[in-house]
């Protein structure tokens, strides 16, 4: 075990005291009303803020390797939840106000596009530098990155999304129309991917090259699909 400095301990205690005081103010405002969504989010955010320096101290004392990463993650999570609490409060005070013209499905599509962009950059960008035997491992790492970024991105978007009515709403005719049109656009690329098969066979390309070409076309089709979703929601379906 390593000792924490007195300054670190005093600072952490003062920080905890401040967070507790703020939490008390939030709860005091509750009054006789049921706990509102924004107050719940604010309390969780304060809890994360309070935990951040404690995590740093705990890692230093018990593990001997202080690291800012867990605390930074907690602090960032707290900031996000505070932003969500603020938006929930604004939504409650003025339900008619539309803060964003983007529906949740547009934001979700943007998250997936971001993840696909990272996939393209990390996988296809590294393909030339990696020996063929390590390509499957690179592929698996990239898919894991894609999944993690997609999940985290959706959590962030869900927490910050302000018009709460369409998060749980079933798909309506506009959603179905956008989906169908976007799928149609992506279908063209998938068709092209199919027709590369005879070309690859005739050209006698190596198996790994053929697989990467098909994977690239599949990723391109996904990019077209999600880009179309964003565009059709924004510009209309005609």
């Amino acid at each position: 075990m390593n000792a924490a400095t007195s300054g670190q301990i005093i600072g952490t205690v003062l920080w905890l005291g401040s967070c507790a005081g703020l939490a008390a103010c939030v709860v005091w405002q509750k009054g006789s009303l049921p706990l509102l969504r924004e107050q719940g989010l604010a309390l969780i955010a304060l809890g994360l803020f309070a935990l951040a320096p404690c995590t740093y101290l705990a890692m230093q004392v018990f593990r001997g390797m202080p690291s800012l990463v867990p605390g930074a993650v907690q602090f960032s999570g707290g900031l996000l939840l505070l932003a969500a609490a603020w938006r929930a409060r604004k939504q409650r005070l003025d339900p008619e106000a539309i803060e964003s013209t983007w529906v949740f499905r547009q934001k979700s599509a943007a998250v997936v596009l971001l993840a696909l962009g990272m996939l393209i950059f990390s996988y296809f960008g590294s393909l030339g530098d990696v020996p063929a035997a390590e390509a499957p491992a690179l592929f698996i790492d990239t898919i894991v990155l894609l999944i993690v970024v997609t999940i985290v991105g959706h959590i962030v978007v869900s927490v910050l999304h302000s018009p709460g009515d369409d998060l749980a709403a079933p798909r309506d005719e506009r959603d179905r129309a956008v989906d169908l049109l976007s799928l149609r656009n992506a279908y063209y690329l998938l068709t092209a991917a199919f027709w590369t098969m005879p070309v690859i066979i005739i050209a006698q390309l190596p198996l790994l090259t053929a697989l990467n070409i098909w994977f690239a076309l599949l990723v391109a089709a996904e990019v077209v699909y999600y880009s179309s979703v964003i565009a059709y929601y924004r510009l209309g379906t005609g």
Binding site: P95, E96, V103, P163, D172, R174, G236
Partner: protein, 74 residues
């Protein structure tokens, strides 16, 4: 004779205000679509299905061609 491309305009926003200043959320609930879909309809970014158009006519106690009109593009 060639067909001209046409756009569909509507009076949904005007009729909504005339019917007790109905909110977009209320109208959306009545015709069974999302509020954002009503917004898109009013802005001309989405043309509703026949079913939704008939529901709109029912809500506004009107007819479909009094709500929607076809305008040829120049």
């Amino acid at each position: 004779m060639g067909k001209k491309k046409s756009t569909i305009s509507n009076r949904i926003r005007e009729l909504r205000f005339k019917h007790g200043e109905m909110t977009q959320q209320e109208l959306a609930k009545l015709i069974g679509v999302a509020r954002q879909t009503v917004i898109a309809m009013e802005q001309g970014r989405f043309s509703p299905s026949l079913e939704s158009a008939l529901r709109l006519a029912q809500v506004f106690d009107s007819t479909v061609d009094e709500i929607f009109s076809l305008e040829p593009e120049e």
